[in-house]
Amino acid sequence: MNRTTRTFGSVTLGEKLPPLKIDVTAGLIVGGALASRDFTPVHHDKAAAQATGLPDIFMNILTSNGLMGRYVTDWTGPEAALKSIEVKLGAPNVPGMVMTITGEVTAKDDAAGTVIVSVSGDNNVWGTHMAGKVCVALPKES
């Protein structure tokens, strides 16, 4: 990632973030579930996932949340500070899919020095996996 940090003033409303493609592998789903201490069977056991009507194990919401946070701080640079993340899940992410994450700056708060990035993660088979808003504080100057 870029180690310099964007300043509040350098960000413009409507600015689009570069898209990020994520290969949704079984490794990412299981690894994300375990690293988030989420041992719910549907995130590591295919038969358990199928019993709930899905074709395979699927990504847990904490991993989606983590990817959304990472996507925005990849763009801001390290000195930014995450303030909040709202994530709403749609279609599940299952192995073999490719999720493309896109984002756009949809609000700027001059007093707080924060910007809101609206983020969407869309997989190539079922469409929108996640949609949300990330609020991040940026330094006034570098």
Binding site: M1, F39, P55, T63, P78, A81, V87, V125, P139
Partner: protein, 325 residues
């Protein structure tokens, strides 16, 4: 469930609304470098504040911080609780057990809203205070019939100071019998999920000939045999002279944008993004709906000269696309 069973069940689950999950609970592990690194690895997060001690020390933070998205992770119960391998059952698990016993075996995290009030550092304790805040009315969802359970957790540290808050919404659902059967049938062969193609054109008596020409790389325009008027889309009768006799000419594929729109939400699997739909005024005089490709949405304008190309867009589909001329 019979109506009586349903109301008994609802009374049981509603009794949990407003209940605390238990006394405030310190995470099984305090904030630590190993779990931070595992999380950063798997999410592909290369932010040096999380893993590069030297960079972090020289930064405004003066040391490593945990990825804020780990906030709720410090409070997760882990393997024994998830597997039911423990004699201890917390209030939340108890509630989930009631859902499971009544056939709501599906579980899916659907929303989180997380606020970060201070960044956490290795050595910090995370203490969670969770309340079952709400259980929705019964809902029909894409996954099956179910209920949304919403918990609110307040997180504090070893000094009793507030560090953040998380609203977590979970769907408990009865998996629909059709989707379970479909997936179990499919799983034998471990069928790979296939990315969808474009919606296929409906080809009927009056328009199949037009699509068949497209498949062969030609854009045709229907022409009245009696009066010569061109028309599109294909239909049996001339609007000018009511003749049912027709033939066709091949379009030059030259034209201009008469009107256009960008479809930005939702994104459709199998379709390009950005997705520009244009009404193209062909040089021959008829108009045609087609995608505008090969240029940024900002660059498109009414009157823009375009040139078409009939081309394959996926395994099952050939379409006329229009590029800036």
């Amino acid at each position: 469930m019979t109506p009586a069973e349903t109301s008994a069940f609802e009374a049981k689950i509603r009794a949990y609304v407003g209940r605390e999950m238990g006394p405030p609970k310190r995470g099984n592990d305090d904030v630590n470098l190993a779990m931070i690194r595992h999380w950063a690895e798997v999410t592909g997060d290369e932010n040096p504040l999380y893993t590069d001690a030297e960079f972090a020390a020289a930064s405004s933070r003066k040391g490593i911080i945990a990825p804020p998205t780990m906030l709720g992770i410090w409070a997760m119960e882990g393997y024994p609780m998830a597997q039911g391998h423990t004699g201890k059952v917390d209030v939340q698990r108890e509630l989930h057990n009631i859902f499971e016993a009544h056939g709501f075996t599906g579980v899916l995290g659907t929303n989180t809203i997380t606020e970060f009030h201070r960044e956490l550092r290795p050595g910090d304790q995370v203490i969670s205070h969770t309340v079952i805040d709400n259980i929705s009315a019964p809902k029909k969802t894409a996954r099956g019939h179910g209920y949304f359970i919403e918990t609110v957790t307040r997180f504090t540290d070893q000094h009793g100071q507030d560090v953040g808050r998380q609203v977590f919404r979970t769907l408990r659902f009865m998996p629909s019998a059709e989707s379970v059967a479909a997936n179990q049938a499919q799983s034998g062969g471990d069928a790979k999920l296939k990315a969808p193609t474009r919606i296929q054109s409906p080809r009927g008596h009056d328009n199949a000939w037009w699509w068949e020409a497209i498949d062969q790389g030609r854009l045709l325009i229907q022409r009245c045999k009696r009066c010569g008027t061109l028309r599109h889309p294909p239909r049996p009768m001339c609007g000018e002279c009511q003749s049912l006799e027709w033939d066709s000419i091949e379009s030059s594929l030259e034209g201009e944008v008469y009107s256009y729109t960008e479809v930005s939400y939702p994104k459709f699997p199998g379709y390009p993004d950005p997705l520009l739909c244009g009404l193209i005024q062909l040089k021959e005089g008829t108009r045609l709906v087609a995608n505008i490709v090969g240029c940024a949405p900002e660059a498109v304008h009414v009157g823009m000269k375009v040139r078409g190309k009939v081309e394959r867009v996926d395994d099952a589909t050939v379409l006329p696309n229009f590029y800036p001329a």
